[in-house]
Symmetry: C2
Subunit: 411 residues, 2 copies
Amino acid sequence: MQEYLQRAKAACAELSQTSGRLRNDTLLEMAKALRSEHGAILEANAKDMEYARGAGLSSAMLDRLLLDEKRINAMAESIETIASLRDPLGRTIEGWTLPNGLNIQKVSIPIGVVGVIYESRPNVTSDTAALCFKSGNVAVLKGGKEAVNSNFAIADILRGVLEQSGLSKDIISMLPDSSREGVMKLVKMDKFVDLIIPRGGESLIRSVCDNATVPVVKHDKGVCNIYLDESADIGSALKILVNAKVQRPGVCNSMETLLVDTAIAKTALPLIKSEFEKHSTKLKGCVQTLAVIGVEAASEEDFYVEYADNILNIKVVNGVEAATAHIAKYGSGHSDAIITENYKNAEFFLNAVDSACVYVNASTRFTDGGEFGFGAEVGISTNKLHSRGPMGVNDLTTYKYKILGNGQIRE
Amino acid sequence: MQEYLQRAKAACAELSQTSGRLRNDTLLEMAKALRSEHGAILEANAKDMEYARGAGLSSAMLDRLLLDEKRINAMAESIETIASLRDPLGRTIEGWTLPNGLNIQKVSIPIGVVGVIYESRPNVTSDTAALCFKSGNVAVLKGGKEAVNSNFAIADILRGVLEQSGLSKDIISMLPDSSREGVMKLVKMDKFVDLIIPRGGESLIRSVCDNATVPVVKHDKGVCNIYLDESADIGSALKILVNAKVQRPGVCNSMETLLVDTAIAKTALPLIKSEFEKHSTKLKGCVQTLAVIGVEAASEEDFYVEYADNILNIKVVNGVEAATAHIAKYGSGHSDAIITENYKNAEFFLNAVDSACVYVNASTRFTDGGEFGFGAEVGISTNKLHSRGPMGVNDLTTYKYKILGNGQIRE
């Protein structure tokens, strides 16, 4: 492992000297190669599918794993989009000149070697590799065990393009030892790895955070809350609530808990119930909710849960302060919203809620790199430091100070 | 420890709702209180000094520990400077509006609970507490064992002012268990602590990094290098070199190694030797250096050392690429400089050297929050992520996205 990571680290210096044009041209070649060599990917994917069927994976899991020509084309298109983004490197983030004439420029640079650990679909391999490459980072990838053949086939094609472009193949690679032990070794290699991004289950993220000496930006669960304030426009509110829960219940930015102001509980709850019944949402309510509408009882534990399903908790709270206190206790710092026409309450909520994304009068479903206009995303960080919320290519950079003088010495 | 940190965490919510004016007024009261209650600090400091003399600390160490009325006044002045800085909170770092009208604002906010571990002078206690408070963070401080009475006396005065201002005393505190075990417990409390900043010896920093589950921004050693290019203006160069080594050899931004281009070794080295002899600098040279001037031989290990003393390594290298290769291997990513009149070499050096601060034609001694114009500094980060180089109050913040809508739902 150490020798492998030494090669990855060594590739950083070469990559940091490439031009944005060379990186973009290489990305376009990668997209082409994925299309022209799709046969090799489909063959590898067939092996994964066969193994997965034998292991009895659910049909939803099998669908996530499956690749076809259309999906490979979508992977190629995604790389083309990444190629078209503005270069995240060499941006002057700040710049100023000191009284002595020294000019200081805070300039964006690559992070170095970025390790990404993920579980899901094979297209994450090409997306992540492309995002890292665009931002001048060496990618060390570790995908799900069930997709191992597909992932290696995709990486092989991208590595082949690197070689043809006169670059080192070590710029993109799959971690050779993809066991749990391999991952735990990787996260301690702070001499060679600059950042670990774990995307996946809670237990994976916990064990990475507990064991890592490399800095970690985690992509943890989303327990998103929406607070319906007394002053809300109820017609607009119902549309937002349904969208936040029903449009795609399985994703991290969907709503898990609706908080309803006591002052409007009696009038709003029946409307909410009838609206969600149209979408077959299973509702669970607190004691005060049950006093108004007939739904299943929610336990205290339920308010911590990311259902990733068409299930919604409802809790009656006494005003905006109680709502933010609930969010501080049960939320996951991902995305939370207030629906209100009251300026003061909106302002209080925006300041008091300490989440990556805090909304007024909009669906939490907008927490997404694509929706934010980042073009593509590495994922959604639930870290408080370095990167928060949707991570685009700019979030895969750090900075250095370039300081231009003409003989200045310190007095 | 857990109960203590729970109180610290709880104080975050209160602090995040304070206005910049309240924080500044409270800082000015803190400065006043340090001056008016200097008697209590001097009494506590006398105890520390007595203990330190008994323990046989060096006179340099004793001088660092000693407080007098003048030094306490300087601490108060430093707090007044921090109060006068622009509010680091509520800055809109970026902002844009999506085609659907959703307005996204990336806004600076406090990090939360910040643990700072330091070894040196008691004034670090008041400086760090003030910087954390200015930026809306709860400070958990752990100073050197030898300064324990002084540190607690200073913190008590600051905490008294917090209480008088109607704020929680838990906003500033000294870690009650200041043993090594206490520190190792602290760095694992990721539920309550958001950032750990260790400033101090290599072994402390290594054990914090190895054990922490809390994110760490380390303030590690500075092995700073200056490369003297063939095209350098030698008169200006000698002034920069002497300044970088001699002006204050004990600090992290002073030069440890001078790299001299082969092309000018024969002419430049004698000038360098005679210049440094005027300042009694002890020179150590590589084999090629020894062929030109008579100085002590440098071992390979010497190039990794932060002397913190008036000692300088000299190495002859074959051009700018060899210089950057040396820096990549032996440097600590702190501050490195090139002295050159060649545009291409300057540009290559600026891009290739991956250090927090990379200079052209200036002394590395400028790597300092005060010199950068930050007003005051938490220290100099040698991390690659979150904060790099001199850390001012802006570096004690993170961000969230505030998203303002009027009914937007995702299609």
